[in-house]
Symmetry: C3
Subunit: 209 residues, 3 copies
């Protein structure tokens, strides 16, 4: 018995989005371990780079699928924004980690550790919230995760501002200030991208509620 | 007598956009006063932060209304872009003000004062141009304000470039260069966001002319 | 004999996009010559600024035409994104060149020369790929150019990271580090914008394949 399907099933999109969220979570765990332990630095960064590459592959698969799918589970532009937002989170995690080696920084300070922790918690909210996209009756749960992601972005913003103030007060080596400012900025961009993801999820949930 | 309305009236969107524009104007006046007087710094920055928070609330109201409105006064994506553009202006004003305390800078220099003035003039153009969205026959007036906002963005760009050149020539304290470069950048982003707002307004006006 | 056309012909859009791509190529050649020779600096930068201005005019023409055209050769949002992406490439080329004078830098180093070269090669791919938009049977060629533009963006990213690491290792003058970091960043943004252009082209090609 052959079964034809003129309407491509949307499930594959959800599979890919969830794979991307799992991947973000692993990259965020890698960054947290890196800043916490600061041992096996090269090896830990190589692993983060692999997650970033894996994220690229998943994003590419989503975009390819989108281009050859006529009926999508939700608006095409939201699929694009969601895919890009998820991809951006891993990109910024990798950029933060990479800058630590490129700049040959010494042990990460409290702010880098705090920001890694906020990123990890944001990644976890995304990974937990995303599966609720599959079922309209679960949409209300999405909003709870989005509220928490927004709160985390504010927390990251606060840590960043405090850290920048402290850098200028405590550090006399201006090169060191420039280095950490860049690394913090990448980390804060990761939490911004978590918020972008939350904005798309919230929009989809409200539009189809 | 009960009156039902199946088609939600679009007026509320205009009310919210105009409230956002009024709010931007107040934030911009706060920034101008802050850089001009440099007295009661803490208090003035607290007030700017309140406008930023008020802007967030208005933006949220616009997005919520959009998600439960089927027929909108103009394209949905333009409503989103306009709401975000207006929100960004207040955000960057607050970031500039906040960086001045976080970085513990001394009295603002001529460039910070000049940039605050350009932002204030841009905010005024937005606040004056926006009400013309309500009436198609007034759309031509929108374009006049947009031209002026674009001119102001070029002016800000010119001030920024001159100021950056002067910083490197006049300042030997590199930490001070980094601090002001950040503050100027936030200010210029505010004028960029004014231009984003003008671009949306211009697009809406031309599409429906 | 009068001929009326209710459906505006789309050819003019292609003419304008190709004019913008030619303009980018000239600006990129100007930047390459500037960093390579470092002679007649003022004059070379004036010419780059003229290309930037020319790019603004073309972008404006595309947007104006879009607003008064009902049937477009491809999706309106892709036309906007393509026009903006092309405009951004020239803007960032001009910003990089301008920063070299504003900051009064000495002779460009290997990284600035390498990045100018990557930008020039990206501009060439855009200028060669774009004409294939005119004919659906040529769409497959677009993808080849897009692959190369993506590869070039990775190359630029690699040069930038190496250069930043080298700056901090080799340079003791922190002001010099800040200056070059800014210039490199503008250059890398130019290659990012080339990638944005490639993303739109790829999307259009896949959607209509």
């Amino acid at each position: 018995l052959l079964k034809f399907s003129l309407i491509p099933r949307g499930d594959k999109f959800f599979d890919l989005f969830e794979a991307s969220a799992e991947n973000i979570l692993k990259a965020a765990e890698g960054l947290k371990d890196l800043t916490n332990t600061w041992d096996n630095v090269e090896e830990r960064i190589t692993i983060i780079k692999e997650f970033e590459h894996e994220g690229d592959i998943i994003t590419h698969q989503i975009m390819e699928r989108l281009h050859r799918t006529f009926i999508t589970p939700f608006d095409r532009e939201d699929i694009v924004l969601l895919a890009q937002g998820l991809d951006d989170v891993t990109d910024f995690i990798e950029e933060a980690a990479d800058a630590m080696v490129t700049y040959k920084v010494k042990r990460p300070d409290w702010a880098a550790i705090a920001l890694s922790d906020v990123i990890l918690r944001g990644a976890r909210e995304i990974q937990r919230g995303l599966p609720h996209l599959r079922k309209r009756s679960d949409f209300k749960h999405i909003l709870e995760h989005c509220v928490e992601i927004n709160r985390l972005e504010n927390e990251a913003d606060h840590v960043l501002r405090t850290a920048m103030g402290a850098l200028f007060t405590d550090t006399t080596d201006v090169a060191e200030i420039i280095k950490w400012r860049d690394i913090y900025a990448h980390m804060e961009s990761a939490t911004d991208s978590c918020e972008d993801v939350a904005d798309v999820l919230e929009g989809v949930a409200l539009k189809h509620a």
